[in-house]
């Protein structure tokens, strides 16, 4: 019997989560092996694995993965380096927020993908352009998320700190930042996912390496197996980083966990 908000055991959680993957795989196998969808449009799981093996063994796909991961991490770190301090300052100090907020609200609606042609013009098709797409796509959103989190710091905790002798800067350092940290880490986890979307978009246009570039090449050869393998690779990397992020958060912020 399911009851609202009742927690589920660790074993059952893993079992249920795996079950959906199994069902998904089963459906894919049924549709492709059963001939419902022609192989030209949808490669079977076996075919996809074989393509993947060929990619890794013969075409140096591991290098492409490495390049893409590097771009994601690089762009994400650059964005975080700017967004987290700025967001914290905005959340804590309202004049800073009043200064940046209107522009950021405008800037965050600028679609990062629409910048690609302009960025190619400015920065060429090198690494700088790839990083720029990711940074533009994530930094504005992240600043606003961090500012909202920091601005939501419990008032009574700030007041308690004042009555214990804290001054404004130490309120920021000893109350606002630690109080915001777990939620900021959650925001970073979310934004890392977006960075993956942006990097692939950037690699689909004007790139000579990376997972996105490989997917584009495979399309020219009509190799759906390789395309699907590329997409699944991104999914797997995303899943693994997500798990790592969650584990790190639990370790870093034991006081916040339940």
């Amino acid at each position: 019997m399911m009851r609202p908000l009742q927690p589920v055991g660790a074993g059952a959680r893993i079992l249920l989560g795996t079950a959906f993957f199994a069902a998904f795989l089963g459906l894919w196998a049924a549709v492709s092996y059963g001939g419902v969808v022609p192989a030209l449009f949808l490669a079977s799981p076996g075919r996809t694995l074989a393509s993947g093996w060929a990619l890794l063994a013969e075409y140096g796909f591991a290098f492409d993965i490495g390049v893409t991961v590097w771009r994601v991490v690089g762009g994400f770190l650059l964005a975080a380096l700017v967004a987290v301090p700025l967001g914290l300052l905005m959340g804590a100090f309202k004049p800073v927020e009043a200064f940046f907020e209107p522009f950021l609200s405008f800037a965050r609606y600028l679609p990062a993908s629409a910048f690609i042609p302009l960025l190619i013009l400015w920065a060429g098709v090198g690494e700088a352009q790839k990083l720029a797409v990711i940074v533009i796509g994530s930094v504005f959103q992240l600043v606003i998320m961090v500012a909202v989190i920091a601005g939501g710091t419990r008032r009574d905790l700030v007041e308690a700190a004042y009555t214990l002798g804290s001054r404004p800067l130490s309120i920021l350092r000893r109350v606002v930042i630690p109080a915001a940290a777990p939620q900021v880490a959650e925001a970073l986890r979310l934004v890392l996912g977006w960075a993956w979307t942006y990097v692939i978009v950037a690699e689909l246009v004007g790139a000579s390496s990376g997972i996105g570039h490989m997917i584009m090449d495979s399309q020219r050869l009509l190799d759906t197996g390789q395309m699907i393998f590329g997409i699944v690779t991104i999914g797997v990397i995303g899943l693994v980083t997500d798990l790592l992020f969650k584990a790190a958060n639990r370790k870093l912020f034991p006081w916040a966990a339940l």
Binding site: D156, A160, T163, L164, G165, P178, W255, A256
Partner: protein, 262 residues
């Protein structure tokens, strides 16, 4: 810290209205002096401005008119000379019990050895030994408020401001906390301004009870509590206690009715 008298002179507070609602007068001009080492309880119906008055003394809120002085200094903002315990739980959730208690000491740059010594003293006094490494969320409400009390006391403030610190606790825990607070106060006679709406609590702890009227609050009566210290819980059954209680109940009932009618 040496202790100084607290002088509240003509303190008034009105909150600006929101939208179509007019401004709220929370506090009428209020005068109150608390002598060094005195334990004053402020008693009043809900919404009469008790928290507002205490927050003004703490420097967390500014009066619309009037002044607050602690000794020769005018209160213009919060400071460690006025320690506060809030009605809501305000321990820092990311700090252990020990680090919560040390918070103000770190702020003042007290030497680690001395911090440790002060910490040990207040852990013992508040019965928290063995819990120094717990997170606040692992503590019961009573333990959280004891930690908050230890955190405020560790800073050695000139005056302790307590805003219904036991208001959220069950009756039994509340009585234990009252005895604990009384023990601490009897030991070093720190000036205390204590807000409550519990008559028994006010009489049991204080040497003077100030009754506030329904909103807009003003001080309508002052009752001296001449029960000798050290007090034990048994004092609650004495006829003197009963007489004081009857008198304060009379004062309060009238105000609660007025508060409900308005």
């Amino acid at each position: 810290m040496s202790q100084e008298p607290l002088r509240i002179r003509g303190v008034t507070r009105s909150f600006p209205g929101q939208g179509r609602a007019g401004p709220t007068l929370a506090l009428q001009p209020t005068d109150l002096t608390v002598a060094p080492g005195e334990f004053v309880a402020i008693l009043g119906p809900s919404g009469c401005g008790k928290s507002t008055l205490l927050r003004i003394v703490a420097g967390l809120d500014r009066p619309t008119a009037g002044t607050v002085h602690l000794g020769p200094r005018e209160v213009t903002g919060p400071g460690p000379d006025r320690g506060m315990v809030f009605q809501s739980y305000t321990l820092f959730p990311w700090l252990s019990v020990a680090d919560n208690i040390r918070y103000g000491l770190v702020e003042r740059g007290v030497k680690p050895a001395e911090q440790q010594e002060i910490l040990a003293r207040f852990l013992a006094r508040t019965g928290l030994r063995g819990f120094e490494n717990h997170w606040p969320r692992q503590l019961s409400g009573g333990m959280q408020q004891r930690t908050a009390l230890a955190r405020a006391l560790a800073n050695d403030p000139e005056i302790l401001l307590l805003d219904e610190p036991f208001g959220a606790l069950d009756h039994q825990t509340r009585e234990l906390m009252q005895e604990l607070l009384l023990e601490i106060w009897q030991a070093d006679r720190k000036t205390v301004l204590f807000v409550t709406h519990d008559i028994d609590e006010a009489i049991f702890l204080a040497n003077r009870v100030v009754v506030m009227s329904a909103r807009p609050g003003r001080i309508k009566a002052e009752v001296k509590v001449d029960l000798p210290y050290p007090r034990e819980w048994t004092v609650k059954t004495t006829p003197e206690f009963g007489a004081l209680k009857a008198r304060l109940m009379g004062e309060i009932r009238e105000e609660v009715r007025r508060a409900a009618a308005s």
